[in-house]
Symmetry: C2
Subunit: 413 residues, 2 copies
Amino acid sequence: MKAEIIIIGDEILIGQTVDTNSAWIGEALNRRGFDIVRKITIHDNHQDILGALNEIGTGTDVIITTGGLGPTSDDITKQTLCEFFGTKLVPNRVVLDMIEKMMKHRGIPMNENNRKQAEVPESCRVLTNAVGTAPGLWFEKGKTVFISLPGVPYEMKYIMNEHVLPDLSIHFKSQAIQHRNIMTYGVSESRLAEILTGFEKDLSSEIKLAYLPSYGIIKLRLTGTGKNISVISHELEEQVIKLRNIIPDLIFSEDEESFEMTIGRLLKTFNKTVCTAESCTGGNIARMLTSVPGSSTYFKGSVVAYDNAVKEAVLGISSNIIRSEGAVSEAVVRAMAESARKLIGTDFSVATSGIAGPAGGTDEKPVGTLWIAAASVRETISEKHTFPGDRITNIMRFSNAALNLLRRLVIRE
Amino acid sequence: MKAEIIIIGDEILIGQTVDTNSAWIGEALNRRGFDIVRKITIHDNHQDILGALNEIGTGTDVIITTGGLGPTSDDITKQTLCEFFGTKLVPNRVVLDMIEKMMKHRGIPMNENNRKQAEVPESCRVLTNAVGTAPGLWFEKGKTVFISLPGVPYEMKYIMNEHVLPDLSIHFKSQAIQHRNIMTYGVSESRLAEILTGFEKDLSSEIKLAYLPSYGIIKLRLTGTGKNISVISHELEEQVIKLRNIIPDLIFSEDEESFEMTIGRLLKTFNKTVCTAESCTGGNIARMLTSVPGSSTYFKGSVVAYDNAVKEAVLGISSNIIRSEGAVSEAVVRAMAESARKLIGTDFSVATSGIAGPAGGTDEKPVGTLWIAAASVRETISEKHTFPGDRITNIMRFSNAALNLLRRLVIRE
């Protein structure tokens, strides 16, 4: 089954907004056996929307559009959909009631724009939106399903989860597809590809391998497609067993987990807690750990000691060590980890000190230099890394390196 | 001048990776007067890449492709480009030297994949890449320029900044285009559109207004196009003056700054410092503040007090107040701000306590409830908010609300 995604919005084309919707939709559809053949982003205007709808490939089963359903005057998707499907806008009582209720709850008076949002094309099925004012719209033309969704990410996700994904499962019968995601860390994509050359050559035509790198983490995705789900499942499991033998030290999860999810799971299992002491990562590791729902059971807190004075005053690091070794040093990062663990009162801690750039580098300690440490009651381990990259990339790579060190310590104990 | 962007990669289509490259490229080209007419994302296979190249609209001046230049075996963009342009791959000495040097610097031995990356289509001009192993490729066919770039964001940006953007300026003579970005905060997009109905109606055909919302911030982007840059510039300035009169309290920057950039600029100007005390935002505000290069001059540190015990032990909040008022309360968030400011020794501080969800809500304090406070030597101000949204959206909205409160306090002093 083939799917296309059409993203409508000038703000996406001119890069004012990064489109995360199509990634989310692509993943959700792909998991359900759809081949995403194309994503296209177009201007928020009548001609281009109509052009994209008319250009859809033959044999495409589902088209999902996002954007252009908002209340501002440049939003003309609904009018254009009416033209394409030969229908007209009519007020919808259910949608109007939901909007009125929502505005009342938020304490905002209804306005003309809100009332316009309750108008929908007459020939579509309305997909109600309990978290926003723009409903989703489901059209059918020949064998093809067209779905129009709002561009606000959590509204789009709500309508996808509540209506679109269950309804598509009923509408189409899926081809058997299965994924296994093996998370690795520690070598470059190029080096990993070299290690796995033989493994890749031996894969059957039903199994495909993809390398998906992200800030030092490389996700290996094995995708099996075919007629029989149990045959695919069995073959994928055999390949995973092979991978475990080839790269045992590089794999940190077989469940598509990020480091923060893996660590969260481990800490919950062992009933242990963690804190962070961050210099160069500026709170990003704490943010990553707390992005996981339920993290309050094991994450207790953090000291972001950006300034050396804070390293001294809050974490009690000796000013002598900072002066003699430098803030970016093994001695300081180990002291940070140990001190934060005691101060915040956790079983584990992780600390960072490095130079994210663009300024602050020296010949001896260039931009990209990182010292990390992880501490437990029993021991403290530390590592030095040097990364290439810009400030934001460095902060992300630094954070992953630190989380990996923490993960190794948690597993060891 | 028209531009199209082609993103190559299964990992983008299936949503394993969020494509941020095309937003960056779109913005860079748009600023230089290109109309981005289309972005298209396709499979990493020969047929689809060739199909996309053949489908390019007539009158398109520049096509930029990203992805498919990596070392793994599914990367076949270069071979397909050779076919499209009727040329063949040849080894390139300059590129090989750069790759050898880079691998040596990183302490990684050269392998066959690295050597393959030094092969380039014979008819293209090579755009060297000093930060990675895949060079950019510049082709010309008729009046159209084709540029192929690697998909790794910082490598793509390096080649764009070093080669593509300057070279395009020479190759094409730009149409006059100018933007003014007015950053607003405080009302919904729908309400803002209502307030600005008359303003929009009065805009001349040369000026376009776009609403670009992001976690509570709405950027108003005025774009002027025409023949004479000084006429456009003058007319944009007149519209900005009008906006200042219509929505004086909503505008927080006229320079396309985020809150963290605005605050950084203000603190630098006044030679003041700041810290954060975060509960529900889990370090995200510290991360935002430190994402700005040079933030170490005014950002000193942060206490992430996720657990109530940390609020007590590190920030010295009385357990009586936490028990009687609850952690998500005005009393606690004010105490957090005041205590962190003294502990870390800064001029200003900002604190958050709320319920990001999905769990932890009650009837009295539902998910989305937020208390924020900002403190200075002279005073402490605080506010309550209630937001809709999922966990990650809430954390972002909470952070922006807190930064806005901090900004207001910094300006007042």
